[in-house]
Subunit: 260 residues, 4 copies
Amino acid sequence: MAETREAPAKKTRIGTPTCDINRLLFRGKDTLNELVGKISFTEGVFLAVTGKMPSPQQVKILDACLVVLMDHGITPSALVTRLVADTVPADIQVSMAAGLLTIGNKFMGTIAGCGALLERGIASGLPAEQWAADIVAEYQRTKRRFPGFGHPDYFPVDPRTVRLFQVAEEAGVSGRYVRLVKTLESEIERQGGRRLPLNATGAIGALLCEIEFPVAAMRGVAVISRTAGLLAHALEEQETGTAWPITQMVMKAIPYDDAP
Amino acid sequence: MAETREAPAKKTRIGTPTCDINRLLFRGKDTLNELVGKISFTEGVFLAVTGKMPSPQQVKILDACLVVLMDHGITPSALVTRLVADTVPADIQVSMAAGLLTIGNKFMGTIAGCGALLERGIASGLPAEQWAADIVAEYQRTKRRFPGFGHPDYFPVDPRTVRLFQVAEEAGVSGRYVRLVKTLESEIERQGGRRLPLNATGAIGALLCEIEFPVAAMRGVAVISRTAGLLAHALEEQETGTAWPITQMVMKAIPYDDAP
Amino acid sequence: MAETREAPAKKTRIGTPTCDINRLLFRGKDTLNELVGKISFTEGVFLAVTGKMPSPQQVKILDACLVVLMDHGITPSALVTRLVADTVPADIQVSMAAGLLTIGNKFMGTIAGCGALLERGIASGLPAEQWAADIVAEYQRTKRRFPGFGHPDYFPVDPRTVRLFQVAEEAGVSGRYVRLVKTLESEIERQGGRRLPLNATGAIGALLCEIEFPVAAMRGVAVISRTAGLLAHALEEQETGTAWPITQMVMKAIPYDDAP
Amino acid sequence: MAETREAPAKKTRIGTPTCDINRLLFRGKDTLNELVGKISFTEGVFLAVTGKMPSPQQVKILDACLVVLMDHGITPSALVTRLVADTVPADIQVSMAAGLLTIGNKFMGTIAGCGALLERGIASGLPAEQWAADIVAEYQRTKRRFPGFGHPDYFPVDPRTVRLFQVAEEAGVSGRYVRLVKTLESEIERQGGRRLPLNATGAIGALLCEIEFPVAAMRGVAVISRTAGLLAHALEEQETGTAWPITQMVMKAIPYDDAP
């Protein structure tokens, strides 16, 4: 029943398949001779996304962003991974993937939201103060929230933001996105009448802009980073078995009550 | 309706939640002062899984393993990510997680299978040749396949295996697992009558044993590694739109035919 | 280490846990005596979502919607399920769940989009013609697409829409949402200058409005429906093994080409 | 760049794609004229899996199985769906799919385990008592657990099993699998010295055997069934917001403690 048919006129610029036995290429590099044993995984992530090898400065920033988001204890993502790890213990990729599904707009998706906003600010060509004044007025009028600002636990500053900006300064990044986001933070406080600290995801959005990491890929940094923490939670679940006591505790805490 | 209830007598050794505002710890380290800006993400992965900081040698090996598996072009995992990225474009974590679900026993799950086998070999205390002779005889008798051996495209050697072992030698790893897996490869050929080359996942299983990375976490290395490639595929899908032509091509290639 | 702690003041109105051994309730009904052996699964779906038992008319409509979306051959959802079923064969829930992740805004998510639009139309209190004229003008001005209209294969009508509306008429539904969506279809053609047929998802959106199925749950109908088709694809994959030939075909059709 | 290529010599027996505009077939039936408006979704599930239309008796049994597993309150699956629904609220298919990932061997996967065992028993051709005596002795010797037996909350009987068997009797199923599983239950008690009641998943495994539903598809019944409950939990989560209080409660209950 095999017949010939037209193939889609498409190509990929990412990598060669293993069946292409005469060359093993990834983003134009010889995988075995130029990459394996030569570059770090973080350099590989940058290369995968941008098609270019990063500078040491870019690596330093990307590593800091990947390290800071690895884990925050028993988060919703960790909880989901633990519950699935308990029921599908042999396939750790399933529990890790399930936990990653929680990285939505509410939590780490704000990285890209903040990054996109800052790109818009730089693209406007306006002085930082003027752009910030305009955008804050616009958001106030339309009652929109700024992605990457505010945190339930950290006030008046998010200590992770402080540290990330310190790393950026040490690395010598140019800093125009960092300056812009700080201007925005001040303007939000000025117009809003109360401080709303730039949180870690907002800071990461600014830093990823600094290293020319595309906005469309920014949430992916959270995904990659969190895999490390979720792997640890899946393993700990297999050792300590928290899923069942957690379920029982929640079951009792949320009783069935059908009264209207 | 709030009442008090008994909590599970459990604890976590991974990290503190953000609500623990006076300390931000990960595996006993001060996250902001000891980790962010100080360690690479690869070091973070090792720390997350083992609770210990890796030696430079261990980092070199883990980086090589993470880099070699990032991508192999249009694999089933990349295909799944592309199809989901086309339908859920705004939430890149969903398409990445979907692609990760393919990392089962058939493909990269063999890393842990090979690692577990080698650990058993070392634990046996037997000379490598004797253990290999016994285990190959046992597998032949029970018609089981050796995880991490054989490849549809690479023969007589998997070039990735060659390169990974070269990196290991340069890094100066002790090599007892590498020697054991090579002995096993020879013995499989001797008893089986034909060569079945150690593939990249088998080599990674051996190398992760060398750096004391636990078997239970080995498949997680494939998960973390592949996130980099899948992020690139999700982004490329948004630029080039391959999902629809792929679906149409497959639709035509697999016609409906209800005849018995 | 067990201590007491405050529980969230929350409750669930869905069902009792199995540990509540003296009663097994679901939505206020005695599960074993009022539901099992007494109602169909479709009635159960309606009860689960709305908390009420459906009328025979509502069941007829919901069944028609669930049946029509079960399968459309080798769709992206079926393709994803087949690729995952090949790599994780023992856990059929993983391949089914992976396939369900494709039910995004692009495909079946338009059910709820259309349903929400029609609810807005009815809530406006305006005559159908006037509301349709206004909303079409608004969408034209803002270049938005109407969810549930247009189809790459079906023109000038989607035969599924025709059949679904026939079933609704036979069942004797009141028809105000059906009339509204038909008015909208005419108005889109009138103002747009070309016919854009109401497709099956748009028709389902209208019918689910007719039976008072909440808009927030409408996409769930597609999820439930498609599980039946995806189960069949997962099983067929295990018998016929299409994943590997598909991957090879796509691999060849999308070559690696790094030229700018 | 389009070229011709060889397609895999494969076909599907499930359904036609929408691009096949002259016929819309599903399992050999005319979808619009023979299925939509004519059959229930439960009949559709049976048809999808087996390729045959079920008898009224088979429908009654399949409906009872689908209804009994829809929900059990705050289970791990419901918990996962709630956590994901909170973070990805707009895409209900993501939270439903995440919850389905928990249907592993530990919980509902035992349906197929029990079904496979009973098929083996019938295939043996031995009298029920003799087969049960042999298999229980074998499992005792190898310390294996019988899938579908025992329950943390229900003793000495699982009331769901009682009701399901009552439904089966009313429906007039032949009962050879039911008799076999009851014989097995007695033998487990006799040889083990204590009662281990046949639970709902075991009973469902037996009933699905009775209606000739293939073992490979049995876990899929749990997947389909649970989608109804998970849809309800995703919706309730959006109304009541339990994810955050649950996370906080668990966070406090499982403190970070790095002491060895």
